[in-house]
Point group: C2
Chain length 305, copies 2
Amino acid sequence: MSLKLTILGCHSATPRVNAHPTAQILKIKNHTILIDCGEGTQVQLRRYKISFSKIKHIFISHLHGDHYFGLIGLISTFGLLNREKELHIYAPEGLQDIIELQMNLSQSRANFPLIFHVLNGTASELIFEDKNISIKTIPLTHRVYTNGFLFKEKLALRKLDIEAVSKFPEIETCDYHNLKKGKDFIKKDGILIPNNKLTFAPPKPLSYAFCSDTSYKPNIVKIIKNVDLLYHESTFLSDRKDLAIKTGHSTAKQAGEIALMANAKLLILGHFSNRYRNLKAFQLESQEIFENTLLAVEGKTFEIG
Amino acid sequence: MSLKLTILGCHSATPRVNAHPTAQILKIKNHTILIDCGEGTQVQLRRYKISFSKIKHIFISHLHGDHYFGLIGLISTFGLLNREKELHIYAPEGLQDIIELQMNLSQSRANFPLIFHVLNGTASELIFEDKNISIKTIPLTHRVYTNGFLFKEKLALRKLDIEAVSKFPEIETCDYHNLKKGKDFIKKDGILIPNNKLTFAPPKPLSYAFCSDTSYKPNIVKIIKNVDLLYHESTFLSDRKDLAIKTGHSTAKQAGEIALMANAKLLILGHFSNRYRNLKAFQLESQEIFENTLLAVEGKTFEIG
């Protein structure tokens, strides 16, 4: 069981050489998920050798350009690569209009199913679920309607203790599924063998919370409580807390406070303003509150579990 | 008198690391002009240290993404950089809708005058003129409505031959402007001094024609006749002439034929399909027809005059 987060871009606003706007790839169970898609994301995917075809779900936090201007190019490229597989896009209202207007004007259309899921709720809601994972929104407070996303693995089946199982010839292959689901085994003579004598507990499910862009918003803590990995924006240091408040962003210290209150295992800071050259200062500021803080770095993969 | 063309991107369709879609900067007289604006253009401008603030005119050939997906990001960045100066965009109908829809959804607006000039003519027309240059459309044939652009310097004033002028004390500073305009000087005694004894001819005005994307279209030759610098697309080699015809593109050989017929001084090939790894073959194919052929290269500046 592991969860891998690759940073494709972690800077705010205007893209520069080696400072791309927000985009990241989350590998969780059998999913390869793209979160936000700033300009240049498709080139970043190529640079870090991430297979385009594995991406089936894209989550867009909000409609500021540094979080979605790369999407139309990526969709066009999927078309040119003769994609056939469904692509699901979860985004605020309006993005579908933007994409469709551009496709219409270029007289092109996706030959693959392109499915938009409009996000407009103001409370956290379940927006995706299968047998392996669930995904919920984390309503954030920014200058425009914005969501973070909470990705959670589901508890896997228990694992068979083959050595223990082999001691009971009555247990047949067709019983394995019930054992994995946690059921006890009852022998023909009525004697019960408790499940925990025959199986191992599955690994603890992992979770990841993406929170960008947002003002300092302590009431997200209840949604992301005990999260394993938290990406929280820190556009500014505390020296410009005034600007953070004015622009709907957070400071590194505030990100540390959210991580502490949420009892996160690890905090990754990102969405750094271009005004700062020494990013180490973000880590140090957050670590005064929350020790286990790292900085997002383009091309870096954070793996947990 | 010189004309400088810097290639920011010269590849077709899908952007890759070191293979950006179409964008180029033309420096002609006092103008810094952006021609097409594929995804990533703003980062390419930074990479090649071209001042954002000098760009006042942008010309978009057509509404395929590899020629304009970088425009919304560039406009947003102009806003974030507190641009105040006018920005003029010459483009087919629809681009203004695309830009405005995205700005409205992000609740942002340009604080500088953003002026769209809709191109919809089917014959070559004058779309910009000042005392130094003129710009005309070159109607092209592609899958969607497309224009190339012909940029021409105007003939400058004649230059004073200071040594010759100083021999005639009757000539005063206030006469210089008439001399530069080519007028003869008439002395008080009625004797005429011909202008060419007092001035040098100005340098020959230079011209640049941008032709991308287009099918092989010989009737553009009359528009671009005797052009100094011609950029003509060559998406394919002749081995895939069938594909060139089908997709509304040209081969390297066809680009060479256009350059020959137009009596161009220099041909630059670009808009290479990703299917080719050896771009030298484009140059060789064109040179069988037109010797003075070069290849577009990202970051390279071609200077003439």
